[in-house]
């Protein structure tokens, strides 16, 4: 993931300047940050469930189609869409199965309509083939996977973080993926809007990975007025239709995408295809296509838009906890307790899980004497942290820091006490 694929260099551009006004979703706690420095002077205050916040954010980000299938603990997303999306001029279908849910969303997206689907572990598995289709065919799409435990049915109502690797490698073939794990209801809203914006700007599916606890918790939130929701739309062609290349090379690496029916007729296929979208067996074009869909997410601008990591007391941390989603909230309490007792503990919270964020993680991993990866699975993200710790050590010419796992799969949360004990050990 971290290695730039050939071709990325040519597509590199300076990151966009920070917007002088409005909400910058690349910031942690973006709405609050905008209020604090006066960029936002009006807001909506309400109390929402995590899944409701996700569905509401989707509609406010411009989503106008939902295709899904009921599955605990994500069903509230489907139910919210069912109540609201027709009323804002969109549409939805409760499909016959999970596969059809994502397929319908891809179909709608090709029609030029922002689309999303929602599911949980077993349904996420069923969606994987079409998720790969969306990667290769470069379809803007947001897939919500509210994580429970697994494998198989497991505990449908109980929280888990066991789809972290499925999100990364669930579909077959080499493919880039963006996966985002919110930890609060406020973040459910902000990160869903960001997920849509990334998926549109970069023509790529984005996975939102809340765990069941975050999806089903309720918290007060502060939302911007509808007119100030930061919205990004997919690039559209501007030239003559006969010159349109739906899979062409552009400066950003992202080719424009025309909605159906406007004269820019094109072909979309899951076969390796040329710039016009037609099937090809030209080895050069096949190679270019696969490398481009990676490279377009590895430009400086893309990395600034996509990567997001919170550093919490990490600057001088000797004992570094890495945690995301609900587990990061326990980790914050544990770090505060440790600091109160004079232990130099800190937290790295990847908000974007995939791709990981070496720029923010490596310095802390190089400094830390001990790294604890706390997660509600048996050590999935720990593999990535180990890889990053190895990179950090190699760069610093040191032996890699020990990376320990703090894991729980008994359907209960990892508590602040669990993490503190591991810190203090």
């Amino acid at each position: 993931m971290a290695e730039a694929v050939e071709g990325a260099a040519t597509a590199r551009r300076a990151p966009a300047a920070k917007p002088a006004q409005g909400i910058d979703l690349r910031q942690i706690n973006a709405v609050r940050a905008a209020i604090q420095d006066g960029r936002l002077t009006q807001a909506r205050r309400t109390t929402l469930g995590g899944n409701d916040a996700i569905a509401q954010a989707a509609l406010e980000a411009g989503a106008r189609f939902f295709g899904g299938y009921p599955i605990t603990p994500s069903t509230e997303v489907l139910e919210y869409a069912a109540r609201h999306i027709l009323g804002v001029g969109g549409s939805y279908l409760q499909m016959e199965d999970e596969i059809a849910g994502i397929a319908a969303a891809i179909g709608a997206s090709l029609g030029g309509v922002k689309a999303f689907t929602a599911t949980s572990g077993p349904g996420f598995s069923l969606k994987q083939e079409n998720l790969g289709y969306a990667c290769l065919v470069e379809i803007p799409l947001v897939v919500i996977n509210v994580m429970r435990g697994g494998p198989s049915t497991g505990g449908p109502t109980d929280p888990g973080q066991s789809d972290v690797m499925q999100a990364r490698w669930g579909t077959h073939g080499d493919h880039p993926i963006v996966a985002i794990a919110p930890a609060t209801v406020q973040e459910c809203w902000e990160e869903t809007v960001r997920a849509f914006n990334i998926s549109e700007k970069y023509r790529t599916p984005v996975i939102l990975l809340p765990d069941a606890k975050v999806g089903q918790m309720k918290e007060p939130v502060i939302l911007p007025p509808l007119s100030q929701v930061p919205i990004v739309n997919r690039p559209r062609p501007t030239g003559a239709p006969e010159e349109y290349e739906a899979f062409g090379q552009t400066a950003s690496g992202v080719p424009p995408l025309a909605p159906f029916g406007e004269g820019y007729r094109s072909h979309f296929t899951g076969l390796y295809h040329n710039r016009k979208g037609l099937p090809t067996k030209d080895v050069r074009l096949v190679d270019q296509l696969q490398k481009r869909i990676h490279a377009k997410l590895e430009t400086r601008e893309a990395r600034a838009d996509i990567l997001k990591t919170e550093e919490f007391f990490a600057a001088d941390a000797e004992i570094l906890v890495v945690a995301y989603g609900i587990t990061a909230r326990a980790a914050k309490d544990a770090v505060l307790e440790a600091r109160a007792q004079g232990i130099k503990a800190g937290l790295l919270r990847p908000i974007t899980l995939w791709p990981s964020d070496p720029g923010r993680c490596l310095p802390h991993l190089a400094r830390a004497k001990r790294v604890i990866v706390a997660e509600l699975n048996l050590g999935q993200y720990r593999l990535e942290v180990e890889r990053l710790a190895y990179e950090a050590a190699r760069a610093a010419g040191k032996v890699p820091t020990e990376v320990l796992g703090l894991n729980r799969v008994d359907t209960r949360l990892i508590t602040p006490r669990d993490i503190f004990q591991e810190i203090a050990r």
């Binding site: 609050r32 209020i35 604090q36 006066g38 936002l40 002077t41 009006q42 807001a43 205050r45 109390t47 295709g67 609201h84 999306i85 027709l86 009323g87 804002v88 279908l93 499909m95 059809a100 849910g101 397929a103 319908a104 969303a105 891809i106 179909g107 709608a108 090709l110 029609g111 030029g112 309509v113 689309a115 083939e129 079409n130 289709y133 109502t157 606890k213 089903q216 918790m217 309720k218 918290e219 007025p225 909605p259 159906f260 029916g261 007729r265 072909h267 979309f268 296929t269 899951g270 076969l271 016009k276 037609l278 099937p279 909230r329 326990a330 914050k332 309490d333 505060l336 109160a340 602040p416």
Partner: protein, 502 residues
Amino acid sequence: MNAPLVCSLEMPDLRRTQMRRNIWCEGCGLGNMQQSISVALMRQLGRRLGVNFMEPAGLETIKNKVAMVSGIGCTSRMAGHLDFNTVHTTHGRSLAFASGLKMARPDLTVVLAAGDGDIFAIGGNHFIHAARRNLDMTLIVYDNRSYGMTGAQHSPTSTMGEVGASAPYGVFEPPFSLVDLAIGAGAGFVAQGAITTLQEHQDQLDELIAAGLEHKGFSFINVIGQCHTGWGTRNKRAEAFRYRQYIQQQVIPVDRWRELPAEARAGLRPLGIIHRVARPDLQSTPGYADCVSRSKKAVEAAAEEVEAIAPLPVVVDLRPARTCLRFAGSGGQGVITAGEIALSAAVRAGKNGVFTKNYGPEARGGEAYSDVTVSDGEIHYPQSDQLDVLVALNQETFDKFRKDVSATGRILVNATAVRETYGDARVLASPIGELLAREVRPPKRELGINILALALALDYLGLMSREAVEAAVMKGVGKKNPGLNQKALATGWAEAERLKTL
């Protein structure tokens, strides 16, 4: 305007210039089917859109309005050949992709080309639901009773006893009738055509597809076709002409087929429009329109007010004091709702709060509980194993969660159900169940028990004002049954007063 009277051979070529050489075997009937689809689309859409397909501008309009969606297999490669908005999707899923596209873009004419394995084996579920759902789409299936692209394996429509690559000793599974399946699943238009050696069958196919396109709603045209290079070579029909003759011998016009006694129909396949029922397509039904208008009202009702907001106070206290409550009972007692109301009351009182829930996979019964953490500052971990308050409505949850209450915490138990409290000094016992039955008299057993217990706990412990709690209840569940909930609140508060005097 009427379609120009043009021989199909003189009509414009709808293929993409880069795709003039198709991928199919020489003599394959898919070329015939592609030609029929092209002809039917030009005639039918030309008529509907009022354009002349013999003029470049008219043809352009038609091409722009068509979306062709396909799955995987020989037939599905047709989407790549034709110069429409085309999507070559995953195996079996074309109808699901097309359904989303049609919902989002009702203005497009959505056409699907598929093989029998693609639609009826791996895509069977999508087929029956597309037929039932009745979106305005046209599905044309090339039924060669085998998988062609992967090399002559048998499909759900293969004839028993014939030989295929995956049925080396003969097909031993019975096939199903696609026509009957489509009608049974609710398709409003079902037709069957064939690729034979006769021009009349090609002309008929043009007409059948055009009629399917004209039909409002889901239309299905099954095209009996050959695979002489795959299935044919294994079953003594290796030449295209010979295979087409074989098909020709099996087909008869549907009118004649209907007149035949059932026993005489064996081995024969009807050609023509087999089933046609006029009914509004999904997006044209009054029911759908009603849902749209009701949803608009719901959106208006849910719109949050925009208020002026100033920079928030800077957080100084990193570890602010917090109060953790748990409402526990069996599923259906409303303990989840009680937690939601407590959160709402806390937020109304200007506090920060987090609500989490725990429940079983079943909607009723089983253990359920909700946790509410309230603070003036930021809350990270949303639960606690050092609860300040536990409200236990039954014995099981009292036994289970007693250990999670801090030494200085309080446990409000429903003494009607909790008989054994083990002399726990933190317990505050109240006959909540009896009070409910006596004072509130709910129409259904235990309806309102959550509100009574909530009012009692919050008031006795002085956690939130009565006004905030009442407002939270009446804005939430109370809307449905205000009288009952008012009584439950009043009973809870009265009981709190009584307990305070003890």
